[in-house]
């Protein structure tokens, strides 16, 4: 390990690793610096400038997310001048977009809204002029309202650097700049694979999950960490639920292995089945082949199974019974299934679908 570097942040002497940015060194000390475009696992681009700080002897304010510390650096993060600069930046963002929180799905979970509040801005000093883009909501999963886009580029970097799907990028210049797939296509007509990473990382309401709209405010949703139900990677996910319904599925950068907060299309959008009306809700029995199924109470179903399996076991022996377990279900349930066949029935005829 290289030697530590000492810098001064807001009057505190801070020891940090060479190569760390001012932002990292400050955050390690619990010193708050606002950010919007900064996002873990992606390149620091310094696009939004809200992380500016004063550095002694620097020509101008420095974007702390991009600037590496150097020995003896003297940094100030919360001077009146810095706060004024940050307010100006946020006011410019506010005034160039349609940030109407009344109808925004991100209300309460919006990083721009949080920053406006934190920097105590009543209203922007500039007239609000947003570009009046039409919405992209041609698909059932992701809604884009680029009038709420602050051009921070998180979605572009998440798409290119985290998921490496290489679908999103910036197009046009200056006040015409926008993010999106090639040829300004809607997502559904592009090479997008709907991992939803762009919506997960968007700090505002520009890219949101369509099925979550009107399904619950952020503060009404319960969050449960669990393991994804699809492939064998074992991604750690957060289920957001309200009224016994899964409203949305999110990755979480705070969690580590194996997915470091990323999800794929199935983990993100494949959970509707839980509350689908086709779910089986009652035991069903048919006593003779060809008959229709009849709804039954659990006791009746257990008794019927026990009676039939016991009869088979008595007449043909335990090895005339076999069970197929489920690689879709938990360890505990698989354990009990084999325990049932081995311990209660007396056969090793237990297997599962490991072969596909």
């Amino acid at each position: 390990m290289d030697k530590k570097i000492t810098v001064t942040i807001d009057g505190q002497e801070v020891s940090a690793d060479p190569g760390q940015t001012i932002l990292e060194a400050a955050r390690n000390q619990g010193i708050y610096i606002p950010t919007l475009c900064h996002y873990s696992r992606t390149t620091n681009v310094g696009a939004c400038r809200v992380c500016v700080v004063e550095v002694e002897n620097a020509r101008s304010y420095v974007a702390s997310c991009c600037a590496p510390i150097t020995p003896g650096m003297v940094i100030r993060t919360n001077t009146p001048a810095i706060r004024a600069a940050q307010r100006m930046i946020v006011e410019l963002m506010w005034s160039s977009g349609d940030h109407n929180c009344l109808t925004c799905e991100q209300n309460g979970a919006c990083e721009l809204q949080d920053l406006v509040y934190r920097l105590q801005i009543d209203k922007p000093r500039f007239p609000i002029e947003h570009p009046a883009y039409g919405p992209d909501s041609t698909n059932t999963m992701i809604t884009r309202d680029l009038n709420k886009c602050i051009l921070c580029g998180r979605c572009v970097r998440a798409c290119n650097e985290i998921q490496v799907n290489e679908v999103l990028d910036f197009a046009n210049r200056g006040s015409y700049a926008k993010v999106g797939p090639a040829f300004d296509a809607d997502y559904i007509d592009s090479a997008c694979v709907f991992c939803g990473e762009c919506a997960q990382v968007c700090p505002t309401g520009a890219i949101t999950f369509k099925q979550a709209k009107f399904a619950g405010r952020p503060w009404e949703l319960a969050k449960t960490r669990t393991t994804c139900a699809y492939c064998g990677v074992g991604c750690q996910i957060d289920l957001y639920t309200k009224d016994n319904k899964i409203v949305k599925v999110m990755g979480n950068r705070e969690y580590g292995q194996p997915n470091e907060g990323s999800l794929c299309v199935k983990g993100r959008f494949g959970m509707d089945f839980i509350s689908h009306p086709d779910r089986l809700t009652k035991p069903l029995i048919r006593r003779r082949k060809g008959e229709d199924f009849q709804e039954a109470a659990w006791d009746e179903a257990y008794a019927f199974i026990a009676e039939r399996l016991a009869a088979v076991k008595k007449e043909y022996g335990p090895d005339s019974i076999a069970g197929l377990s489920s690689a879709r279900c938990t360890n505990e349930e698989n354990y009990l299934f084999q325990k049932f066949l081995r311990g209660a029935i007396g056969t090793n005829n237990v297997d599962h679908c490991a072969r596909l």
């Binding site: 369509k210 990677v233 089986l280 019974i321 505990e332 009990l336």
Partner: protein, 529 residues
Amino acid sequence: MTNSFADYAKAKMIILVGTNITEAHPVASTFVKDAALAGARLIVIDPRRTDMVDFAEMHVPLKVGSDVALINGVMNVLIEENLYDKKYVDSCTEGFEDLKKKVMEYPPERAAEISGIPADAIRELARKMASVKPAMLMYTLGITEHICGVNNVMSCANLQMLLGNVGVECGGVNPQRGQNNVQGACDMGALPNVFPGYQPVANADARAKFAKAWNVKSLPDKPGMMMPTMMKNLTTGKVKGFYVFGENLANTEPDIKHVEHELQSAEFLVCQDIFPTETTRFAHVILPAAAWSENDGTFASSERRVNRVRTASVPPGDAKPNWWIFKELAKRFGHEWASASAQEIWDNEVSVLAPSMAGIKYARLENDGLQWPCPGAEHPGTPTLHKGGKFTRGLGMLKAIDYIPPAEVPDPEYPFVLSTGRRLYHYHTRTQTGRSAGINDLLGEETADISAADAQAKGISDGEKISVKSRRGEVVVKARVTKEIPPGLVWMAFHFREACANWLTNPVYDPVTQTAEYKACAVRIDKLR
């Protein structure tokens, strides 16, 4: 997996064999792409030009089922040109002389004839593999779903041991599991020959231990039937009662017509599921189960990591958690099981009975889980198996292996190879993804993927409905003309009941594991008249 997903992004060289990782394990693929962007060298060995080829320095489009010949050819070059890790082979493995003798029968020219990969490309491949250390090998069902699946797996292990790549971080042999808890179902002894923790049922001590824990007089000592044998014996009458827990065999098994005949033959069939499926049609009893988000428990992922599953919603109607159903049913057979929650089942039974998981308790699983082997309360878990080339059995076993062709190869009547698998947007038989609105918009029906050359020769255009026919059945399906597919190959998935690949697939199996040859059978394709 011998190694961990955490290794992917850090790897120096990655060899993907028979794995379409961007579709079957999308999040894992992002880390492979990260590695490639950071300069890692990537080799893709697959008959199809999968998306990952865009990131690779070499694509090896071998003929379906020729893996053993190709790998033997590569090992021939490694030995002939003295490129293998002699020190590792001498100190960590045994069987080298037998392996050498066998691979000497596979000079690159012979391997080329079988695999369709030119001899010089095989030499180049071998030299590339030997040029970076360590290299990480990942495979999926392209390796296992053959009548020679076990041989294919052992060939991958041979190669990685010969290169000295097993037992190190960013190395190893890494089968990525296709389902959320295949690893766990194996770990829990949902297999006919082992108790939880891979303790053989044939071992008297193991039987005595489990009999005592389960409060039974004795336990059966003879390994049971594997699934294909169970199914076959539904028709012979050897199996009378069949309990299917959370599986849709009527779509997932090869040769659907025959599978349905087998299910129809069951004297008594219990299905426990969350939805009515093609399989529950044959049941005598259907039990409604709580689904994934309605239940506590754990899954074990491909990297042997035990992760928590947590309750986020309540089951509909009278649906009950699976563990509750099994416990109640056991009661009807006179067995009172004490454990009354997923945590009690794990903490008081599984981790007590399976030594490799003795150190895994719910209290330790709150965050990022633990990777077994984890034998003690203080043990941090095991990200890399066989560390330092010290294998579980002592020395790593190099095995001499011969190539055998698929059971059914093209002929004038059925001139194409059909290979099957998964697509990105769906999962298995769509009992879950088929009920997710957005996902159905992304992929609403099956296609038969064919090459442009074959499409042209047959006068088939992209999107046109065609007939795909094998000796087992026929489906009418949309053609998808794509550069992913080499001439002579047809590729389909098993997600949709209509045009499910398993109407066509061949019910022949690896003799050891009874894994079906989903990856190779002979078909014909025809324009509809």
